[in-house]
Structures are given as structure tokens and as C-alpha cells.
Amino acid sequence: MSRVFLSSPALRPPGAVKEKEFVVRCIRCGQCVEICPHGTLVFKGGFGRDRHTPMFEPEDTPCYLCMKCPPVCPSGALDASLTDMRRAHMGRAHILRNRCHNYTGATMCMTCYDRCPLRASAIVLADGLTPAVTSACTGCGICAHVCPVKAVVVLSREAHWVPGDAVPTLPAEGEAMPPHHAAGDAR
């Protein structure tokens, strides 16, 4: 399943600057990986441009938005002033309509909604029944980690595509859509 999404840009720690700048700024010192209390952050392997930069795979371990990593970054690859988890902007979750129990009608499952750290803000229940991701989603990936049928795909905010059967992203309540997210959805 995850093999299909291997070509997507990696999910970066909270507060990461734009991917192109990130691979240049990051000095691969490992301070963010070291401070991460959940073992979420790992080094990217290989010999490419992004060799040994920090990333995470929500299916393995999601980001619990403890926000400990941005302040320890010495290089400016992560915005050291970031402390608000709602502004982590790592990516966006997409619920796959043809897998999610609530859409296929198999059973009522509220796992993603219950476990979302921004419950009722990043994941809302449309009609009180079907979960939908809003633009408040930070891409922490907890929903993808807990989903019993792997119906959630988390893509980096730099991904240029959305899964075909994804439930459309709703605007977050009470906020205008952040401009780069809005642009991503328009593509």
C-alpha cells in the first residue's frame, strides 16, 4: 500500500522550511531526531540530496505534536520559534472513501476522529457520520496510524497530488484557508 506513495515528498518535522530550502539548510546534526520522545523522526537513507535529513512515516510512528524539535534546530531548517501545534503544517491527511468503514457502510468507526489531536477541528464529522479532514489538519498522521483499515493517506504539504478517491478537504471552521494549502487543493 505505502509503496504506491513512495514517490511523494517525505513528511518533515514541524516548522520545516520549504523542501528545497530544507535540504540545503539542514546540517544533518540529528538534534531533532535525538529530542523526539516518541521515536517518530528518523533519518532518510540513501545518497540523494536529502541524505540523512529528518523525516517520519506516520504508518510506523506518527508525530504526536509535542513540538520539542523546532526549538532545538540549530540550522534554521526548522522554525525555532514554533511552539503552537496547530501551526505545524507538515502535510495533510486524506481519507480514502472506498476504504473507510463509515463510507463503505461496513460499520461505524470513529477511531480517527477520536484520536486526532485537533479533534473536531482537523477532522470533523460531516452529518455526524462521515469523517472529513479540514484545512486545519497538520499532517501529524495519528489518524493514519490508528485507522484499522489503512483508509488514511498522509501526504506532505509539498505533494502535488491527492489520491483519486479521497474525501474532499473542508475549510477549517472559523479560519481562512492558509494560502499554500488552498493552492495545493486547487491543483
Binding site: 530550502e21 541524505r51 534546530c73
Partner: protein, 276 residues
Amino acid sequence: MNIRLSLLRCFSRWGVIALFCALPWLNAAGMHGISGSLFALDIFGWPFGDPAALLQALAGGAMPSLRLLWGVGSSLLLAFFLGRVFCGWLCPYGLFSEAVVALSRKTARRGSVAGRTELVSRAVVLALGFGLVLCGYPALTALSFPGTLSLAPLMAALDGPGRLLFDLLVLPGTVLLLEFLFGERLWCRFCCPQGLLLGAAAWLGARCGRLGQFWSLPVRWQAGRCSCKAEQPCGDVCTLRVQPRRKGGPDPLRCSRCGDCIQTCADKGKALSWMR
């Protein structure tokens, strides 16, 4: 000399390795007093940084953060005042590289001493790395062996002896093998970008220090006390092949302040000593 310098140095460098092996565990236990790697190290709030990593960020067109500048400044100041002590006393690659020398010394393979060639070669490697960074590939951190080795325990803690660790160690491992086969300390002498940058700071420090005479830790050679004529045990013992019998001491760009020559001389005429 009461305490053997080589013993002290052994403790110091194995201590560095032990520290980095312990760091993932210390961090897991919530002790963050010392954190990072030899790319960027925080010691109780005081940062140190790899000058080549800073160069890489600059070459990439990114304005580095104040903390990275401060960290690199600390590293360069250390070299300015004490010489390349990092290379001789702390660098984990240096430890392995000297272990290779100890292994290959038995086969006694010693070529000619090539001072200027070493510096030119190191500058070429730095320039090539810089060029690759300009082309978009982060070569300078990939070529940073001390930083790379200091990350190894963390990577091992993350995914065991997996592919990541192999990625990490394949380059330093290959170079160590080459050193064993073809020559002593090849990386430190001919390639290491950190060594060149720290050496430049040390050279500057030695120049200013000689004017002021109140800092720096150069090796001093007192010709009058030197009792060895044709033979030179001090030069032979130096794995970096620096000539310590020189007016003003060994070349600060190449000397790692390891003190091997001083220790050797202590048994002879005591012509070599730390300058105070």
C-alpha cells in the same frame, strides 16, 4: 613527563565515542544537557558547530541561524587558541585512523613527507565539495567524517544495524581500508575539510599568539636542547608526518597538537615542549 600524553588522549577520544554511544540512552531518559552530534553539539547550552556544515548552508544560499554561527565560532575559537586540538584529542575518525596506523606500522610503509601538497589537496577537496553544494548536492556534510561517525550510535539505536547505518559507515569504512592499504592518515592529511578550516583558525591563532605571547598551545622546539642529530624520533612518531623540529614549532595548519613528538622527546633531550 609524569602522565603519558598518549594515555590521556586515548581516554579523551574513547570518552567522546562513549559519550555519543550513551547519548541516545541519556536523551531517552530525559537528560538533554549534552545533545547533538559533531555537526552541531550543545554542551549545557553552549553550542559548537562544524565549520564545513556552515559553509554548506552558505553555499546553498541559506542565511544560517545565529546559533549555528555561534557554534561554528566556538569551534574556530577553540582552534584559534589551542590549535587543532579537536583533530588530535576529540575526533573519532582520528582515533580509528591512528588505529589503522598502529596496524599497518608493522608493515612499515612510509612515503615522503609532503607538506604543501597536503594543504593544496585538502583545499581542492573543500573546493570540490563546495562546488557540489552549489550544484545542489550536500557534499560537505557527507564528507564530514567526525560528524558522520558521531551520528552512528543514534542511527543504530533508531533502526539497528540496518541499511541506514551501512549508508553512513560505507564511506569512512572504505577510506580506512584505503589508508590501511596505501598510506597512513590519508584522509586527515589530504582530504579532511574540517581539518583545513580548523587549521586555518589555528594558523591565525599562532600568528597572533606569537605577537602577544600569551595564548595558544603550540609545540615549542628549543634547538639548543636537541640532542638527536641525524635521526629524528619526534618526526618519525608523528602519524601526520609533520616536522616538529622547526623554528616556531610544527606547522599549525597540519599539526593536530597530539603531543606524540613531545612525549617521544621527553625521553631524550626535552627539546620539545608545550609553549606557555
